[in-house]
Symmetry: C2
Amino acid sequence: MEQSGGRDVVERLRSDIVSSVFEPETRLKFADMTKRYDVGIGTLREGLSQLVSEGFVTLEAGKGFRVAPVSGEELIEITEHFIELEKRAITDAIAHGDDDWESHIVSSHHRLNIIEKLSWPERIERHSEWVQRHREFHESLVAACRGKWLFKLRSLMFNQLDRYRFVTKMAPQGLGKEKFEEHRQIMLAALDRDAEKASALIEHHIRDTSERARTML
Amino acid sequence: MEQSGGRDVVERLRSDIVSSVFEPETRLKFADMTKRYDVGIGTLREGLSQLVSEGFVTLEAGKGFRVAPVSGEELIEITEHFIELEKRAITDAIAHGDDDWESHIVSSHHRLNIIEKLSWPERIERHSEWVQRHREFHESLVAACRGKWLFKLRSLMFNQLDRYRFVTKMAPQGLGKEKFEEHRQIMLAALDRDAEKASALIEHHIRDTSERARTML
DNA sequence: GATAGAATGATTTTCGAAAATGGGTGGAGA
DNA sequence: TCTCCACCCATTTTCGAAAATCATTCTATC
């Protein structure tokens, strides 16, 4: 089998930062990183550099890379930006989505469901998979929106929220069941082409999650 | 004198793309680029990679980097996003700006003025400087906005607009004088703490420029 | 004892050579 | 004539060694 190759080192890095494998403000030294991810210095540098643009990492000239800090203030700001962008995106997607769009929503929701139905220990075991599928589900909802930049910007904000969502995932279960139902409701509203309802549901879904995250920060 | 060092290779690259030194869709080969910018392959790759996140360059795995395409549709979308973000940013800046904020607006406007007052041939001669000072002026207006991400996102959109602004700059003069006055009006509204007026002026300023650019595309 | 400066070690940053990949040409077989 | 495959060249992508930079400790001098 072909080894990782090193093309998805960015994803692994982002995943590790989101999962707090590296805590905020931690220095990311090349000596350690190259061993951990089994790639060369140059490749790693390119990856880190990309994460700087995404806001996960900071770069101080001459001092190297660090994991970007987190704060309640920033969480609030990111949440508001995301909600704003997402509402516009889903409204447009609902207006212009075709059959492929609908079917992809259904399939990605199903994939998310499979993990969300698992027992608690199994679920945290496969947490990185959950992150991936959760991202894909929300992405599928707005996939049909024209507006390349609208999509880019909302994805930027969504990825940032992943960092903060993580803290709520490690908390005692109970909120899982709620979110489970919320996802279903959002899907149904989208398939029903009810933009108003889908927007409202998403707004509540996101804002509620962020609120909980903020209290746990 | 110390040679370039290679830390601002990103700015030179962006500047060359904005100025259409490399036309859209052009392949950016490392062999040529390393000679042109006098930096190594790795450094260049890191720079290109950053421009991918900013949307100036595209990267197809295995096929290398290309200058991102331009289109009237994208111009419209970028314009609307920028106006939306900029209005929020300037409103917040006007509400919270201090004396330093004001004085920096005045000084950067002055620096822009110096170039805008020049004769036509001199002005296109120093076009890259104009781009820089124009950016700094608009940036100074919103510098006091809290909201790190609001600032980031609006800057992303502003940089994209630079590409499209360029086509209008090469057109026969006449619009120069108008923009000259518009910049002054915007500055006065900001110093007067009139958020409504400043927002309206900026909206018109940007939308008008984009409209002209679109007809010339 | 305090401070500046030099020397040392750790880490980042740069760079070009080597490996991997893609595109294109030509020739053999049908 | 057309298709397929093997080869070759151009280009990208990866990688680690060498140079540059930053932080720290040690020493000499006031």
